[in-house]
């Protein structure tokens, strides 16, 4: 959560220095953008239509962006190993045998708002979590790495498969947006179901009922990284 916030804020700062997005290998102010975010820029070379230039925050933003990215990736590796090792992915995230249909998905989706009161994730949560963990996060890391000139020299296929540097940058932007959408919806759902009790459960791995047996404590550590998006 800390890393993600850091990446989000610094990512935003970096975008502000060039608010135009392109498709393909190259893109600059002499070329036609795919789209432009209608905000002022921190560079006077970017035509934004605004009369003023924002302060340049790129230096520390870039330092922090890459440091937070390392930390997130390392945390992710630990989480991934722990998830497979403990069977957390298989038991809690792969949709149940009988629920792998669109009908079950839709039923769970409609029932979400009220909350079914069970302790297990429903099929909508399971597919979304799997998508975030195994699709969006790998993609955001891949598209981010494809923006590194040093890494591209080592592994040119990474950026070439994405259709070029500017395509990678645009995709990185959209995938980050999807992660933000997930985060907002996720926190909203938690809030609707009792923010503090759910957060406590997430971190300790213990259900909120006061009658919960003491034994549960030992399991806590395994699931600590559960919701660390």
């Amino acid at each position: 959560m800390v890393c993600f916030s850091a990446l989000l804020i610094t990512g935003g700062e970096i975008v502000i220095s060039h608010t135009r997005f392109y498709w393909g290998e190259t893109g600059n102010v002499n070329m036609k953008p795919l789209f432009t975010i209608p905000i002022p820029s921190s560079r006077d070379t970017v035509p934004t239509g605004y009369g003023y230039v924002m302060p340049d925050q790129n230096g520390w933003s870039r330092y922090l962006h890459f440091e937070a990215a390392w930390l997130l990736v390392l945390t992710g590796v630990v989480y991934g190993i722990a998830g497979f090792w403990s069977g957390h992915f298989r038991k809690d995230l792969v949709p149940l045998q009988g629920e792998r249909t669109w009908r079950a998905w839709w039923r769970a989706f409609r029932g979400m708002k009220s909350g079914d009161g069970t302790r297990s994730y429903n099929v909508v949560q399971r597919t979304v979590y799997l998508g975030v963990i195994f699709v969006l996060f790998p993609l955001v890391i891949w598209t981010g790495l494809a923006l590194s000139p040093g890494f591209n020299a080592v592994f040119p296929l990474g950026v070439n498969l994405l259709g070029g540097r500017q395509s990678a940058r645009t995709l990185h932007f959209f995938i980050s947006d999807l992660l933000v959408v997930f985060l907002v919806v996720h926190i909203t759902m938690i809030a609707l179901n009792g923010f503090w009790s759910r957060t406590r459960e997430m971190i300790t791995g213990r259900a909120a009922q006061p009658a919960a047996p003491e034994v549960a404590t030992g399991l806590a550590a395994e699931f600590v990284s559960e919701e660390r998006v």
């Binding site: 970096i14 975008v15 002499n30 070379t45 923006l147 040093g150 890494f151 540097r165």
Partner: protein, 252 residues
Amino acid sequence: MNPISRRKLITGGVVTMTGMAGLAAADRIARRFGLIPPDGGGVYGPGETMTYAAQRLIGKHALAREFPRGMVSKTPFMNEVAPLSEEFKRHQAVGFKDWRLVVDGMVTRPVSLSVVDLRALAMGHQITEVVCEEGWSYIAEWIGTPLSTVLSEAGTLPQVRYIVYRSIQSDWWESIDMADALHPQTLLTWGMNDGDLPVGFGGPLRMRVPRQLGYKSVKYITHLTATDSLKRFGKGLGSASPEGGYAWYAGI
């Protein structure tokens, strides 16, 4: 909550000690093999060190992507430069014939070369992308003299670890390690897209380091210094970039 059991305390202690010993060992190994960038201190130091060390370990000799001629940008962006000095304008007025590149520091034969000398020395060319930290980019053909040729002409001593390069614009100076300095694609560029290098793009002489971001490709180069340590230059952070808040290693 249960009180922390003795076993947990011991296990936790052992894990922490192992972790700290591991970090200390990693730090020593990184120092031993020169994997810590000059701006590797401070809060952002660990991240910078990880990036620099990782890239030096997995791709020290990797080549930047080169592109077919058809992909050369028709509308490259020259970016703005600080107002050019009177001294620069005097050079420009006479076609840069008196422009000199001085090579000094830890070398056996300090030299001073004109652009004509450089052209006569060796020629390399490459079609690579200029990538700005802001996000924009363009592709051009760059023609110049490989930095490695110039360095061997001056005879760098074996203990040299960095090359410091300076622009006629005195607040622009940078440095690279020997992996980049001796890299075949690192060029002292005097030509672009089959013509002379235009002033807007850094003519008469620009350093091109295609494996790093554009800000390492300094315009209007006049001075190279070979050194074994960056401590004596500026604030000791390696270049003007970290002094202005930007990373020294821009391979990301």
